[in-house]
Symmetry: C14
Subunit: 92 residues, 14 copies
Amino acid sequence: MEMKDIVSLASIIIAGLTIAIGSIGPALGEGRALAQALSSIAQQPDEASTITRTLFVGLAMIESVAIYCFVISVILIFANPFWNHVVSQAGK
Amino acid sequence: MEMKDIVSLASIIIAGLTIAIGSIGPALGEGRALAQALSSIAQQPDEASTITRTLFVGLAMIESVAIYCFVISVILIFANPFWNHVVSQAGK
Amino acid sequence: MEMKDIVSLASIIIAGLTIAIGSIGPALGEGRALAQALSSIAQQPDEASTITRTLFVGLAMIESVAIYCFVISVILIFANPFWNHVVSQAGK
Amino acid sequence: MEMKDIVSLASIIIAGLTIAIGSIGPALGEGRALAQALSSIAQQPDEASTITRTLFVGLAMIESVAIYCFVISVILIFANPFWNHVVSQAGK
Amino acid sequence: MEMKDIVSLASIIIAGLTIAIGSIGPALGEGRALAQALSSIAQQPDEASTITRTLFVGLAMIESVAIYCFVISVILIFANPFWNHVVSQAGK
Amino acid sequence: MEMKDIVSLASIIIAGLTIAIGSIGPALGEGRALAQALSSIAQQPDEASTITRTLFVGLAMIESVAIYCFVISVILIFANPFWNHVVSQAGK
Amino acid sequence: MEMKDIVSLASIIIAGLTIAIGSIGPALGEGRALAQALSSIAQQPDEASTITRTLFVGLAMIESVAIYCFVISVILIFANPFWNHVVSQAGK
Amino acid sequence: MEMKDIVSLASIIIAGLTIAIGSIGPALGEGRALAQALSSIAQQPDEASTITRTLFVGLAMIESVAIYCFVISVILIFANPFWNHVVSQAGK
Amino acid sequence: MEMKDIVSLASIIIAGLTIAIGSIGPALGEGRALAQALSSIAQQPDEASTITRTLFVGLAMIESVAIYCFVISVILIFANPFWNHVVSQAGK
Amino acid sequence: MEMKDIVSLASIIIAGLTIAIGSIGPALGEGRALAQALSSIAQQPDEASTITRTLFVGLAMIESVAIYCFVISVILIFANPFWNHVVSQAGK
Amino acid sequence: MEMKDIVSLASIIIAGLTIAIGSIGPALGEGRALAQALSSIAQQPDEASTITRTLFVGLAMIESVAIYCFVISVILIFANPFWNHVVSQAGK
Amino acid sequence: MEMKDIVSLASIIIAGLTIAIGSIGPALGEGRALAQALSSIAQQPDEASTITRTLFVGLAMIESVAIYCFVISVILIFANPFWNHVVSQAGK
Amino acid sequence: MEMKDIVSLASIIIAGLTIAIGSIGPALGEGRALAQALSSIAQQPDEASTITRTLFVGLAMIESVAIYCFVISVILIFANPFWNHVVSQAGK
Amino acid sequence: MEMKDIVSLASIIIAGLTIAIGSIGPALGEGRALAQALSSIAQQPDEASTITRTLFVGLAMIESVAIYCFVISVILIFANPFWNHVVSQAGK
């Protein structure tokens, strides 16, 4: 039953690292965009609604990159085709 | 009972590293946004309410990235499907 | 049945790392472009529509780089030709 | 009794590294926000109360990221489910 | 049948890493160019058409570097001459 | 008596590294905040009392992150539950 | 037939890494040049033709560095003298 | 008497690394704060006493982080509980 | 025939890495020079011919560094004296 | 007499690395403070005595961090309790 | 005949790495100098001849550093005294 | 006579690395201070004597950090207590 | 005859790395100085002779650092005392 | 005669690395100081003699750090006490 070990080991390790490493870029990118948005509102209060609308659309786009990582991470834990294959093999 | 060793070992290591590495990006991003918010309030006090509202919505979005990491980390400790499988196997 | 181990192991590890590493560049690049867009709107509100249109076309182009990574990552999990070959071999 | 070795070893190592690595981001982020707050007070003394209020709410949010790390770290030392399982197994 | 293992293993690992590492440069480069484009439009609205035309030609050129990586990555998965050689050898 | 070796070895190594790595962030963050505080006092001497009060509250918050590391480090040396368990086991 | 393994293994690994690492420099360099070109057009619209001409000559020069990498990468996959030697040896 | 080797080896290595790594942050942080203090005195000579007082309180706070490292380092050399335990064990 | 393995292995690996690593410096350097050239043309259109002439001479000089790498890389693949020696030895 | 080897080996290696790594932070920090001091004197010659006095007190404080490293380094070479213990053991 | 393997292996690896690593510094340095030269010509067209003369003398000096690397690299491939010694030994 | 090997090996390696790594910080720090000193003299020629006096006192202080490294390095080569102990042991 | 292997191996590797790593610092330093020289000539054409004279003396001083590396590198290839000793030993 | 191998191996490796790593800091530091000197001469031509005098004294001080590395490097090649001891031992 060694194969299960390897698959579960790899899944745990990679699930964690994927979301850990994958959170660095989006968090920094969103922080930068948010900081600039606040600066722009302070500079041009009349355009606050346009700025916040563009900001939230853009943040959603950046967030989507983080969500790609989260999706892969959750798939590896709860819907891992290799794990399913191994378990079904072992069940036979 | 070797498989338990491997699964618990990997879970402990990755649970810690996930939240540790995953805290760098959000903390820096939030710090940057917060710093800019304070600067903007000082520059445009009349818009303080708009700025703080946008700030807290944005911070929540960045915080969500850190929470993804925390969720994966807690799942690996308390709701690890691979661990449950191993324990139920051993219980048989 | 050792070969399955190796192929599934490699697929899991690389699927996660590909999207994790591949998210850093696009997220930072989009954050920068978005930040500048907000600054430009505040500076030239009359051009808001031109700016946001150019922004979204450009963001889509950067996002495409992240999607290349996501595509390779999903192919490795769900449509891996090497895995299919191995399974079909084993089925014989 | 080898499994205890591995679990306790991993718990000690990761408990320390989690809080060590996890302290870098929040400390730098808080330092940046605090620095900007002081600059803003000097620039706009009349808004000192708004600025410090926003500052402390924001610092608490960043601090929460560090606390996630501390929580995982303390759980690994004092409330480690894998350790409890091992000890209860050995006690049987 | 050891050689298949090695070739498929290497192909999977490198296919993922190639596009992952290769996405960092183009994404950052495009982000920078896009950010400057938006700034230039805000500064000189009358030249918006010239700027966006130059921008998209340039982005295509940078994107081509990312596509080189994607091409090599896809070749390694679906049109790998070494894999074909191995399989044809094994078929003999 | 091998287990004692491992536990004491790991405790010594991690106790040192935790406080060593954990001192980088807080020290840099405090240095930045302090530098800005002095600059602000020079710029707005009348607000010196508000600035220093906010500074010390903020420094205490950053210092708390360093203290988390120190606490974990001291726990690992003087109140290590795994070590106590091992010694009590050996004493039996 | 061990030598084939080694040669094909090395060729796959290096072909991918060469274009992956080799894309970082040119992509960043082109991004920088393109960004400056757009800024210059906005600043001096009358010189737009001279600027874009110089830009494209320069980009071609930078692109040539990326193409060196692509050439080496493709040679290693499809026209590898060491592989040809090995195959012809084995055919004898 | 192998355990002594391990404990003394680890203590020597970590004692040195702790203070070596732990000196980087505080030294840079203090250098930055000191540099700003001198700049502030030059800018606002009348506030020299307030500035130097705040500076020395702040430096002491940063220095405390370095002292945490020094304390752990000295404890590991001269008051190491694990070493005492080992020696007392060996003395029995 | 082990020696052939080693020589061909090393030649493939180094040929790729040489041009990959060697492309970073020249690409960034050329990008910087090109960016400045465009900025200078926009600033001083009358000197466009002098600037572009100096630019292309300088770019050629930087490109020569990349060509050194390409030359070494191609020599290692197609005119490798060590490989020739090995093959001629084996032919004897 | 193996234990002597290990202790002396570790002492030599760590004594050197401690002062080598520990010199980076203080040297950079002092360089920064000194540079600013000279700039401040040039800007406000009348305050030269206050500035140099504050500078030397501050430099002494930063130097103290380097001296912590030097002290640990010299202790490890000339007053190493573990070495003394080993030698006294061997002398018995 | 093992020694030939080692010498040729090392020569190939180091010849490539020397020129690869050695190209980073000169390429970046020349890029910086060239960029500044173009900026200076745009700023002071009358001094174009003095500037380009100084530029080319300086570039030659920087290029000489790259040539040192190229010389060592070529010596290692075509005039390696250790290789000659080995071959002459083997010829005896 | 194995112990001599280890001690002399470690002494040579660490003596070199100590001064090599330890030269980075002081050289950069002194370069920065010197650069600022020259800038200050150009700005305030009347204070040249005060500036150069402060500069040389400060440089001596930074140099002292480099000398700590040099001292440890020379001690390890020419006055190494562990080496003396080993030689005297062997002479017995 | 193993010792020759080791000495020639180490000499080849280190000869290349010494000049490769040693070229980074001087090339960047010279590039910076040269860039500033050109800028200064453009700013103060009347001082061109003083500036170029000081530049070339300074460049020679920086170049001397690169030459130290080249000297060590050439000594290791053509005048290596350890190699001479080994060869003369073998000739006996 | 194994000990000679080890000592000569270590001496060659460290002699090269010491000067290679040790050249980075001084070269960058001197480049910075020289660049600033040229800028200062252009700004204040009347103080050229004071500036160049201070520059050359300072450069000599920085160069001394590089010379420390060169001295250790040459000692390790031509006046290595450990090597002399080994040779004299072997001669007995």
